[in-house]
Symmetry: C2
DNA sequence: TAGATTGTTAATCGATTAACAATC
DNA sequence: TAGATTGTTAATCGATTAACAATC
């Protein structure tokens, strides 16, 4: 395993990273209510996590240490989490596959706070190319690589059907894309330096489904 | 911790569950190509996982053991995974919050294979109520609890803004909903027996973002 | 000071991996 | 039989939790 690249933050586990967005939104509501400090105990109770886990997470993120008897400075934590998660800097992306899901994402404004900016879309259907959705032009799929290179795009959002996903992936990678957000339910093969983040709705649905079948116990972290 | 409820499957970790949908789609393509058996080694190579991990996952799912020199029976695995994930039985759900994301999900046909069936939608905006999207009626939010009870709905999809999410959540729970698919970026407080599955796009975007900033090493499972 | 809360070190727990025997 | 592949037991690794000292 390679070493952590040096930076502001100590090594943070993937699990801890996954807790960060929830912390962030809670911190923002606390701040809006005028709070300045937040104790690990209070946050832990809110989330149903152990106090010590929250304390570890907070102290990994906060630039200054927590204050005994007070807690952690909320603005520090917000700044830390936003910086850590990379929400502070805007990132351009393109989307491939203007089906129902693709259209939805093009219309969805909710990515702004996370720094994602979809600048164009691609589809192989000639009836769609030339049109635009939410101000984003739909271009022909054969221009994917060129466009990525020309606009220096590093993020690709894949919303094509499973069968086409690998081809699209290859085109994006050929265009210099380094990070893929894959909504197609398939495994994508990519070079070492490219990251695939699978948005796996099937997993969520499976977890819901198993809960309803009584297979999940109510306790957290249970085996399934 | 409570015991695993008895059933067809041995205890399977959440991590293993999360690998299942990917296995499933690969198995289906293998089956379509006429394959009958699949070795753990071949699948491991496809996914970039360790052979032994795949073997453990497969043997947990397959009804009959793998065959030395052949591998695992593909149809057994497919059946096992579909059963395990609960995709075999259809489940009715309602959706609350007909904004851009809510509309998108109503229009999206991709949930069928997972057994999810959204039967109705709710919104507090009177300009939307009475209309319908993709054949699904949009009803007034004050009818959430009633409708859930009347139709015996156990899954609620929450696509309202963060501020309203807890209220909507409470209404759904009051209506007897047992599993929530939450797209709002907040933590929801629910009774013990209700499961909240957060669809956390922020996490995905954060992971992409950190990769682009060079903070992620290319190796799998790296600290971030 | 006393008490609340943090930070650190060690223990526990669970998932992954390794080693190797079993079997077709 | 030989070789490929599985299944099982033990070792490793990492995340969480517990215990307790430090500090405001």
């Amino acid at each position: 395993m390679a070493e952590q690249t040096g930076g502001r933050f100590p090594p943070i586990s993937v699990q801890a990273l996954q807790r960060m967005p929830a912390y962030l939104s809670y911190l923002q509501t606390q701040k809006d209510e005028g709070a300045v400090f937040l104790s690990a105990a209070k946050a832990a109770q809110h989330f149903g996590l152990s106090e010590i886990q929250v304390r570890k997470d907070f102290s990994a993120i906060s630039l200054t240490p927590g204050k005994p008897k007070a807690g952690f400075a909320i603005v520090e934590l917000i700044d830390g989490i936003e910086t850590f998660l990379g929400f502070r800097n805007s990132k351009d992306a393109i989307l491939v596959g203007v089906g129902s899901l693709g259209k939805a994402l093009l219309n969805y404004g909710g990515f702004k706070p996370y720094g994602l900016n979809i600048v164009a879309a691609f589809d192989s259907n000639p009836e769609l190319t030339g049109k635009s959705i939410n101000g984003k032009a739909i271009l022909s799929s054969d221009k994917i690589s060129d466009t990525c290179r020309r606009l220096n795009i590093h993020i690709g959002v894949i919303t094509v059907p499973a069968k086409q996903a690998q081809l699209v992936c290859d085109q994006l990678v050929a265009g210099g894309v380094k990070a893929l957000w894959n909504f197609a339910p398939v495994h994508l093969s990519v070079p070492e330096n490219v990251l695939v983040q699978n948005e796996n709705m099937a997993v969520s649905l499976a977890i819901l489904s198993r809960h309803l079948e009584g297979a999940l116990d109510s306790a957290k972290g249970e085996k399934v």
